[in-house]
């Protein structure tokens, strides 16, 4: 098998620039979805730890549903189903069509919701891992709830959560490949276009794998640095 390397280059025949742009899109979608997941996950964890009975049930319902339904289905639901809802609402409000919902928005919403359910479990576990004695020590010096959270609970919980949050981030990156079904040109979509039009399937899917690997390994390094920094004081050995 001969590879025509020029196809991956930046010349007139090359897909290089296009692939880099697609990789950038994967990264942007991932960041947006992960951040949305972080916000939802935090709210949901908080609801389950401190919410009233109904708020707790709502939060549990959210995690159960989104962890028990295929990711692809959620994306279709938001993209095609979302379109229908937007159209119905738009018509009802008297706007003129045609109505559309972008693949980017639907994808970020879907992946963010899925990731939020998983992140809430991570954050909840991390909260319960904070030694109660340290919380009591905060209360007994007169800290209010907010100070207690900011100065005692959050820093310790984050330390526990960072490795698992790293995993969540990795799976968000991989899940974004599913958004390709909406036509959003991210890495997965772009390599399959390239593979289809050049018939160099092996080369382009391999290139796609490399793009994902670059993003995930770089993130791995970032999370490892964050973990090491947050572990100050928690390990035996050298300070």
């Amino acid at each position: 098998m001969d590879f025509d390397w020029a196809l991956l280059g930046f010349g007139p025949e090359g897909w290089g620039m296009v692939l880099i742009r697609a990789g950038g899109m994967t990264l942007v979608v991932s960041i947006c979805a992960f951040m949305l997941g972080l916000v939802l996950g935090t709210l949901c964890a908080w609801a389950r730890i401190a919410g009233s009975r109904w708020v707790q049930r709502l939060a549990i319902g959210y995690t159960v549903v989104l962890r028990g339904v295929p990711d692809l289905l959620v994306i279709y639901l938001f993209y095609f189903g979302g379109r229908q809802v937007v159209a119905a609402v738009g018509t009802a409000l008297g706007f003129e069509g045609p109505f559309d919902i972008s693949g980017f928005v639907a994808g970020v919403l879907a992946i963010g919701l899925i990731s939020g359910a998983a992140q809430s479990e991570v954050l909840r576990g991390a909260y319960y891992a904070v030694p109660t004695g340290t919380i009591e020590a905060g209360r007994v010096v007169g800290m209010g709830r907010l100070t207690l959270f900011r100065r005692v609970i959050a820093p310790q919980a984050l330390t526990t959560a960072i490795p698992a949050m790293g995993n969540q981030w990795q799976s968000v990156i991989k899940e974004t490949a599913l958004i390709s079904v909406t036509g959003l040109v991210e890495t997965m979509r772009q390599v399959s276009i390239a593979a289809g039009s050049t018939q160099e399937h092996f080369m382009f899917y391999l290139a796609g794998a490399v793009i994902f690997l670059i993003i995930t390994s770089l993130s791995d390094i970032v999370f490892r640095i964050a973990e090491r920094r947050s572990l100050r004081g928690h390990q035996q050995g050298h300070a």
């Binding site: 009591e136 007169g142 800290m143 004081g233």
Partner: protein, 256 residues
Amino acid sequence: MSIPAIAVTGLHKSFGANAVLRGIDLKAQDGDVISLIGASGSGKSTFLRCIPMLEVPDSGIVAVGEHVIEPRGGILSRRDKVTARTIRSELGFVFQGFNLWPHRTVLENVIEAPIHVQGRPRAECVEEAEALLDKVGLSDKRDAWPVHLSGGQQQRVAIARALAQHPRALLFDEPTSALDPELVGEVLKVIRSLAEEGRTMLIVTHEMGFAREVSSRTVFLHQGLIEEDGHPDQVFGNPVSDRCRAFVSGHFQRNR
């Protein structure tokens, strides 16, 4: 007479069907060093924890200086909660298990509450914290992490942390019970020096010799009630209550 540093009246507390405190009255004047002794389960730790509302009493009145809390049915009203925070910042509490904040250095543990609860300027707090660490013999551990310290050292940091709030009274909940025997002495030495300074202290302890030596008053609890209350020489030497006599003599025999 001036307002007592701590005044507790009619304190009741149950955990489920288990009545742990069954009506405790205790007043501590400024400068008193009161040791609380009694068998495990007599309620002495629960009593101590009720003062800063770490446990909310079912009924009774807790007053620290002029700040009064009267919980009803084990629930604090909104106003009580505010008062509880005031009371907490007027007391220094030392736990059996130290409970230092593991994510902060020794110095950061000591300056945490003065800066973030009392809102005092950082430079002043650091200077004072250094003096306190010197006092408990740990100035060289200023930048160490709690996990790198021995239990005795951690407890001394915890004492410095309690002192940093300028408390009106210090509460010690079995401060040496979690320590290896060879580390007990260094902690008791610090507490003794505080007693000599005239600090107001309530000390729950199983160290009978120490209690007899440092306290100005000893209280013996039995099944959630105060059964003996007096000068340590009397409580340890010639108690009125038979149970107290049995408890005390049992302890001294065991430790001989």
